[in-house]
Symmetry: C3
Subunit: 399 residues, 3 copies
């Protein structure tokens, strides 16, 4: 194993300009598969100018799949490419935005959207979902606490204070970033975010751990906002997932339940439609969702550990391309409603002091018709004989 | 033509320390007037420390007139000098402030003022004017949207992601900066801000373009907050403009309508007086306003295209020097009232998808009595025989 | 005297990496005691990565006592060490946080806590204390102004634009930082913060000056939030101070008045207890408060000029170590209540235009039992025959 510290604030390490590749491993006297493969590379750079000023970008290229990780934005993944397939969407916000340019409480708590353009973005750790006030009451109905929670939590606007690249003897290429979401008289949560890929592979895995470093139980919520635009998304693209039931979030989504899993082309003024799902899991507890392009010639599959991510949200945001034509596939610990509602439904995790919770989401890109069919077969097999109930109206308890 | 990219986030360009002058043009094998003139220079630096940390400053010196452009603050112009005449005011905020130190919603929406010290500062793009809530209703009176709009909009707190210097064969020296004011589920507006001057000239021009990159119509408002302090402003300075009518904004301004266009010396505790005007335009659509010093030995003239900037505001802020003794000459698309009011008056521009609107404001510094007289003659000629109505009280529909 | 400019935004000075020590003085041709002593050093670095990105740290080591000053956070003192004794507390926020990551209005005005981890942190300059709305009324009861004031003011989130190191012929080592807390249509206050220590000494002094640079009277409030954790603070640690009276802030603090000056070990979920005091001063106007460790083998003494800092607050925050086990010893101009209340009690300073107010707080670390006893004797002598009234309940007019 070979590790390289890329960022470590406490040690004064900030390895801007660092390149790690087979050459640097050889120079370091390493052996193993990564030394004999030449096409992979890790490179860390810092953006300067604009609202991107000070954003660190770590490009990880496994020789076939490349992704840009953003330590400055909670270890989110800005965008990528798999072979010739772009993995991204065209957000109205074109470049990575430094959190210092974001005021989450702006626009009634929607300020988070001023920097939203990632392929994969975490929402959490203490809450996610629509902005709103979370009121807690005691058994007598007295207000215990009251806090306005802006959209999607703090984590995407917090920066990793420690990032390490790890080249393992098994040939895997990994980045680990540590992000603290903490304050005085508040939670003390730590996200240890791991990104792993393999030379030449069309897949990568996110393995996250949230640890409660405080002395008291802490509520946590986590959602992976995985966003795909063109060319994966286009008129005729479809969402495939093994699920027990799906329900529209609201009246707007209910308008489209008959075609909830198919996508239109870009429509200016299209109002987002959001569907909530309860996934089916395999014997290992893994759920599976796919987005196929119109020709079923390419697809992305999202596998997620339903033991910690038991919910799935589909965000249909097929607005005009100029406005951010996009589809979100979002495994999560709870549904993206206000935390107060989620708590009442028993979906908010209460993490004991010192305890950790692990999360895993894997992504696989299918680049041929066969590979797409193989994925769809897997979805069918996972669905098996269990029925999938498609509800016409919002489900009480879900929204 | 010779162009130099000074900032381009997407290309990894941030040319801190760059100097462009006749020598660098010669070294690049260029010819033309700028190569044979030695006194001009463009220099980009980055401020470090204090609340200025990370602010880029591009000093443009045409050999006689120098100005400091701030890409990090929406391409505003911090301050300048024309010959021996300082072009600036002494704001209580002494140095350029990085937007990350500004919270616009602070102090009831007046946080913008924490960084306000520019000679020329744009207010916009989606709104300008006093903080307040903009409520839109449908025809039945139902609330369609409700948003708190802090003072003067976002643009002065957004940073240009692309800046280019352009040295033209006609001898002009220009900077172009691109600033995006955008979000998801919101406007996607682009400001392309151009600053042009000429070797040895006592003048410069701002040519701006706002483009609606979104797929739906977008409301825009723009105001050029052009601020002059000592020595141009002093007891006995006067404002001269060809106008159809002028009205006080409020009761406070109405107290001073009989001397609305003359300035006092600094008065501690002076409460600002604001006057709104409808300018007269020449056959090219150009309006003209001047500020003369007490001796009429120096003046600054502001010419503006009334086709897109049909309104003029005079901000008399003759507080103590320590508190920011200053006068604002402010051509604009609409009056600096809450956007809801301006919309009701039909003054908010609705920019179609893909459409652009151009704005031009030129500045000319008169450095001799003759030059001042020449400007005043131009104002008189423009006013011509049309009457100028000075209202004693606020005009319904204007405030 | 030898001075070195470390930061000066206006002059383009930002001396990252600078080291000042006996060698550099010798190289500069200096003589005097600091040249002949080798163990002291000043070093300026900039943190990169995480939420610390862009924070400047100036380590001052007198050979025995070292402290890390943070120009980027209002010249606060992050943490230190005296001999083998750590001077710090373990905040849930582990590293210095750049102000651009802080939104003071977050969490109902508690956002300041997102960056709170200093040994010594100033609260002020225009207000300190709990978040709340300050309403001013005229004699007829009409509201003159209304402003929401988030926790503890702006100063800890403002950066020094000028910092100088000064090595004096008397052998003292000093840092001076200038921080402006100003805005347009608001106060224009300047903090000139001086930190002084002496080679090999176990003490340091803070000498601050607040100047009203505006033309009108300005209200100021200042509190030194001096925070001590383990090992000085542990079960059995005691607070010793010469005081006229002490009162609990509220019902929670009243629960513990019988043991108000003793400390428990860490208790998960411990709700803070706060005590307000009126100190006794010596003939020079100096007050004295000490925190002794459980064995009275080490202590820290805080001496403060009661002519400008007539109040003392003890913050007992003996939560779990993981949650920030800490004790605050806080000399101040006024009590840390909402400014409106403090104004009504006549405790808010109104600083005339151009006037300054000086503040001095000295810290002395006792490292032996004898030194601790000597401090306690000083407290007893200062208390002398004057009685110390310990109130069981909050004192009207104090909270």
């Amino acid at each position: 194993m070979h590790t390289v510290d890329l960022i470590d604030v406490a040690s004064g390490i900030h390895a801007e300009g660092t390149v790690i590749d087979a050459d640097t491993l050889r120079a370091a006297g390493r052996s193993g598969p990564l030394v004999s493969l030449d096409a992979w590379k890790i490179r860390m750079k810092r953006l300067r100018g604009g609202m991107s000023d000070g954003v660190d970008v770590i490009d990880v290229d496994n020789g076939h799949l490349s992704l840009s990780v953003l330590p400055t934005r909670g270890m989110g993944i800005w965008r990528g490419r798999c072979g010739s397939l772009p993995l991204q969407w065209e957000s109205p916000v074109p470049l990575p935005v430094h959190p210092s340019f974001i005021d989450p409480s702006r626009r009634g708590g929607l300020g988070w959207l001023d920097g939203f353009n990632e392929l994969i973005c975490r929402c959490g750790l203490a809450w996610h979902g629509a902005p709103g006030t979370d009121i807690r009451r005691d058994d007598d109905g007295n207000i215990v606490s009251e806090q306005f929670l802006p959209l999607h939590g703090r984590i995407a606007g917090l920066a990793a204070h420690q990032v390490t690249a790890r080249l393992s003897d098994d040939g895997s290429i990994a980045l680990t970033g540590v992000v603290d979401e903490c304050s005085v008289f508040d939670n003390r949560l730590r996200l240890t975010a791991e990104f792993v890929t393999w030379p030449g592979a069309s897949r990568f895995t996110i393995r996250d751990r949230i640890t409660n470093l405080g002395s008291r139980p802490a509520e946590i919520e986590l959602l992976y906002h995985c966003n795909f635009g063109s060319p994966l998304l286009d008129a005729g693209s479809r969402f495939h997932a093994a699920i027990r039931q799906v329900a529209p979030r609201d009246a707007r989504a209910a308008e489209g339940t008959d075609r909830w899993d198919t996508f239109e082309g870009p429509v200016s003024g299209y109002a987002e439609q959001v569907y909530f799902m309860e996934p089916v899991a395999d014997s290992d507890g893994k759920g599976l969702a796919c987005l196929t392009d119109p020709d079923q010639a390419a697809a992305v599959a999202v596998r997620f550990d339903t033991q910690t991510l038991p919910w799935m949200t589909l965000w249909k945001n097929t607005q005009a391309v100029a406005d951010g034509y996009c589809c979100g596939v979002e495994p999560s610990t709870s549904l993206p409603n206000n935390r107060q509602f989620e708590r009442e439904q028993g979906r908010v995790i209460e993490l004991p002091p010192g305890a950790s919770r692990d999360f895993e989401v894997s992504f696989e890109i299918a680049e041929t018709r066969d590979a797409v069919q193989n994925l769809l077969t897997q979805v069918q097999e996972l669905q098996g004989t269990s029925s999938c109930q498609v509800r016409d109206t919002p489900l009480p308890g879900w929204s």
